[in-house]
């Protein structure tokens, strides 16, 4: 049996017979010159399979995890397009472990000249987090996005599989391969004979796959470019989709934990007398900086954890929000970590120009995924299995192995569906703590679930940030923008935490969304300053863009106002010669919203624009004064991602990204007291609900020369668009988030 056969059978498929004779098509074999093979680590597959065909049908093994962004559907569509199968006939499963997949991630051309480990690290980080890719692409030629990578790679996987099946059929039928065609999962001979792929799988397994054939022209696409029913939709509408928290194993126990609420503080001791006497409780286990209870039921475990009296060490961080932000603001006067844009001269105010200055602030934010953090682990002394929704299987495996004192090969990571990721599930804490527990309970599978309060008070937060902008306008145009941004570096911190690498160098992510916007402004400088703090920070949907979009675009709105110009025209004029697809988004959103620059009494409108993850996005937000407060009534979004493979998914991501951003802009903030996070649950950290979500229209353009992302670019412009609309409505400028403190918003 092939390696993939074993993995797939063990992990996912019930019928072992059907797998025998199955064939996996991978690109590793296809692309890798035979004379120069990679040397995969112990236990890794020699071929990296994406397509598995057996008597049961066609299975796509996705190295990407589904967290709601529709990646399984679109990746299946890429394969199906070339393979000539119907979407309904493709099944998608997560890769069972890094073992089978991360090799493919390092295949040759993405990072030439890198040694194996280095490449593996870089690729995993970049792909899984979708963030450090920026750093990585900085180092390689051409910098392709991850979607672009999958765009070609998955279609090639489909094409190679198709051609291999045709070769198998040619042999079987004695017909030259050139006379065969394929359709709907069958090879068809000139005389009409039809051989289903499933019947050819055994023979195809014996054939060396040909090198990747030419891919089909977009004009001939049957599936791509059209909205497909999502492969996970029925399961997610019937309660049958299995998330990490739904894993159920024989004799499994349920656990809850309490980690030191003073962030970074230690656990010095505890009294669990009361807890141990509570119903259902089996064991109390000390953890790194915390304590857990294992019980027969999650709720009973939570109750017991609450009954433990713990002596907590103090947090090493500044005690409260004011002290934290004082530290961040002080960093603005330190030497910059980066000057990623430095055009013209910002030192001298152009003669006759009007000076504009403003300071901005954005809070720390939690991810607040709908599914709280959790992981399930089973330790048997010489092996460990971990089930969790995660974006970083390689890191998870290596970390869990270290904790359990095992070789990485002895650890299996099962990636489940994720009830939201937004960047949170790239972290290692959930699998680590579950492993600590499992090691304390050998032979017993344990599921560890965070309470909402634990989840919210122990996040890796979107860093709080401040900015100082100076600019000037003259003759209706911006002639100078000089921006400084200060925040903790999520990248530097994560490099150490996830990969054990020292942090250094200019952090591009800290200034993304500010330094790289397509405006022709003659004197234009953006500097980034790293605030020296150790509050846990990480990657939050759109990362640096999530605050820089607000800072930079709000400042442009202020300049437009100072120049006495219509804010949309003002932006457009500076953008047209700089980047046509971006200008196209602004023009489109103006048309969609019937933008006139004027609004009736009681209504305000704001426009904003951010170019992020390769996708320009323009948004118009309309607010109205109601008796119950200011309501976000309507919104319009225009984006240009080059090629939109599935419009329904892109539209959902754009709207979802915007709502995620608006939620944060209105209500989102994490604050600190005595080194502890003050927010505990959704009443303290709410999002938009159905009644205060705007009616939204989306336009997806396809003129951009490069394929951009969809999951994140909808978030950054939402916050300034809302702030600018509030300015239009009230005459008060929104310079600090969340807006609920300064505006009477409908809740």
């Amino acid at each position: 049996m092939s390696r993939i056969g074993k993995i797939a059978r063990r992990s996912f498929l019930v019928g072992s017979v059907a797998i025998v004779g199955g064939v996996g098509f991978g690109l590793y074999k296809v692309r890798q010159p035979a004379a120069n093979p990679l040397t995969p680590p112990e236990g890794a597959a020699a071929i990296t399979p994406f397509v598995l065909i057996d008597a049961q049908g066609i299975t796509l093994i996705s190295p990407r995890a589904e967290m709601g962004q529709g990646v399984h559907t679109t990746w299946a569509a890429l394969i199906a397009e070339e393979l000539d199968v119907d979407m309904a006939d493709v099944r998608v499963i997560h890769g069972p472990a890094a073992k089978a997949y991360y090799n493919s991630a390092v295949v040759g051309d993405a990072l030439p000249g890198r040694d194996y480990d280095k490449s593996e690290f870089q690729h995993s980080v970049a792909e899984a987090l979708g963030v450090l890719g920026k750093l990585i692409s900085f180092q390689i030629t051409g910098g392709s996005t991850s979607m672009k990578d999958g765009f070609t790679r998955m279609r090639e996987a489909g094409a190679v599989a198709r051609e291999t099946l045709k070769l198998a059929a040619a042999e079987q039928l004695g017909v030259p391969v050139g006379q065969l065609r394929t359709a709907q999962g069958k090879v068809i001979a000139p005389d009409g004979t039809e051989l289903p792929y499933t019947a050819l799988a055994g023979a195809a397994a014996e054939i060396t796959p040909p090198s990747a054939p030419a891919l089909r022209d977009a004009r001939d696409w049957r599936i791509l470019g059209k909205s497909q029913p999502r492969v996970d939709m029925v399961a997610k509408s019937t309660g049958t989709a299995q998330f990490g928290i739904d894993v159920r194993l024989p004799d499994m126990r349920f656990a809850a934990l309490r980690i030191n609420p003073a962030l970074g503080g230690t656990m010095q001791g505890y009294d669990d007398t009361a807890a141990r006497a509570m119903p259902g409780v089996e064991k109390v286990v000390p953890l790194t900086n915390g304590v857990a209870v294992v019980a027969c039921n999650t709720w009973l475990a939570q109750q017991a954890v609450d009954a433990i009296k713990v002596q907590w060490g103090a947090s090493p961080n500044p005690p409260d929000t004011d002290a934290v932000f004082a530290r961040i603001a002080a960093a603005l006067d330190d030497a910059p970590n980066s000057t990623m844009r430095d055009d013209g001269d910002v030192a001298t105010l152009p003669t006759g120009a009007t000076l504009v200055e403003a300071a901005y602030r954005a809070p720390y934010l939690a991810h607040a995924t709908m599914e709280p953090m959790n992981a399930t682990a089973h330790f048997t002394g010489d092996a460990l299995e971990v089930w969790c929704g995660n974006q970083t299987p390689v890191f998870q495996r290596n970390t869990c192995a270290k904790i359990a004192g095992l070789e990485p090969e002895a650890v299996t990571i099962h990636t489940t569906l994720m009830g939201g990721g937004f960047g949170r599930r790239g972290e290692l804490d959930f699998a680590s703590y579950a492993t600590e527990l499992a090691v304390a309970m050998p032979g017993v599978p344990v599921q560890l679930t965070w309470s909402r309060a634990e989840d919210m008070t122990h996040d890796f937060y979107r860093p709080g940030a401040v900015a100082r902008f100076r600019g000037a306008v003259q003759n209706g145009k911006a002639v100078m923008v000089d921006g400084q941004i200060a925040a903790q570096s999520a990248v530097h911190q994560a490099m150490g935490r996830l990969a054990g690498l020292p942090a250094a160098g200019p952090d591009k992510v800290l200034v993304e969304g500010a330094f790289n916007q397509p405006y022709a402004i003659p004197n234009y400088r953006i500097r980034g300053h790293i605030a020296p703090l150790d509050i846990p920070v990480g990657f939050w949907r759109s990362v640096g863009n999530s605050f820089n979009g607000f800072f930079h675009d709000t400042f442009l709105d202020e300049l437009a106002h100072a120049a006495g110009r219509d804010p949309l025209d003002f932006r457009l004029q500076m953008m047209r010669g700089e980047h046509a697809p971006s200008a196209g988004c602004l023009e489109t959103v103006a048309q969609m919203s019937n933008w006139t620059g004027k609004t009736p009494e009681g209504v305000g409108r704001g426009v904003a624009f951010t170019y992020s993850f390769g996708t320009p996005v323009a948004q118009v937000v309309e607010v109205e004064q109601t008796e119950d407060g200011i309501r976000i009534a309507r919104a319009w979004i225009a984006c240009d991602m080059g090629i939109a493979l599935d419009r329904s998914i892109v539209e959902a991501q754009m709207v979802g990204g915007m709502i995620y951003g608006l939620s944060a802009a209105c209500f989102g903030e994490i604050t600190f007291a005595e080194g502890r996070v003050e927010q505990q649950n959704f009443p303290d950290y709410d999002g938009l609900r159905i009644h205060n979500t705007p009616v939204t229209e989306v336009s997806v353009l396809e003129t951009n020369a490069h394929m951009g992302g969809a999951g994140e670019p909808g978030t950054p412009p939402s916050m300034p668009a809302l702030g600018n609309a509030l300015f239009d409505l009230t005459g008060r400028r929104a310079r600090s988030l969340p807006l609920m403190h300064d505006f009477d918003l409908l809740v």
Binding site: Q69, R230, M233, K236, S237, W299, M418, H691
Partner: protein, 154 residues
């Protein structure tokens, strides 16, 4: 003394204490994991089930206080036999991560049972306790309307 509970038409027994919320009996004891844990304090709606046809936050209902038959998402319909609300959810491709959707669907089903043709304001009123961090609200609204229209046809 075990407690008896009727869920989706089947009788179940549980040995858990009576103060354990229904949510955790369903999930950890009966293995009905379609009902989700989101907040534990009635702030998100992920745990919504029907008790005697009424939408209830199962994280707040001690199992000893369950007064009638319980219906969970698994009992509303199945992949092979979708209920009208579920079919509308699929038609509108509502779910993103999908984690909140069991609760959304149970809340919507209860709304439509009570008000077969809800206005936007009535949808707002009934559905605003259900949080969706992915932001699927526009499609939820559309799906509720489609389900309402479909249910009137029958």
């Amino acid at each position: 003394m075990p407690l008896t509970l009727t869920v989706n038409g089947t009788d179940h027994q549980t040995d858990l204490p009576e103060n354990v919320p229904l949510l955790w009996v369903l999930r950890d004891d009966l293995g009905l994991t379609g009902t989700k844990f989101g907040c534990g304090i009635a702030a998100c709606g992920a745990c919504t089930v029907h008790v005697g046809g009424v939408a209830v936050r199962s994280c707040q209902l001690p199992v000893g206080d369950v007064w009638d038959e319980v219906t969970t998402i698994e009992g509303l319909g199945t992949p092979a036999a979708l209920s009208a609300v579920q079919a509308a959810w699929v038609e509108h491709q509502v779910a993103q991560c999908g984690y909140c959707q069991s609760g959304q669907i149970m809340q919507a089903a209860a709304l439509l049972a009570e008000i077969p043709d809800p206005s936007d304001a009535e949808i707002d009123e009934a559905m605003q306790g259900n949080l969706c961090r992915c932001g699927t609200y526009p499609r939820i609204r559309a799906a509720v309307k489609t389900a309402s229209a479909k249910m009137k046809e029958v």
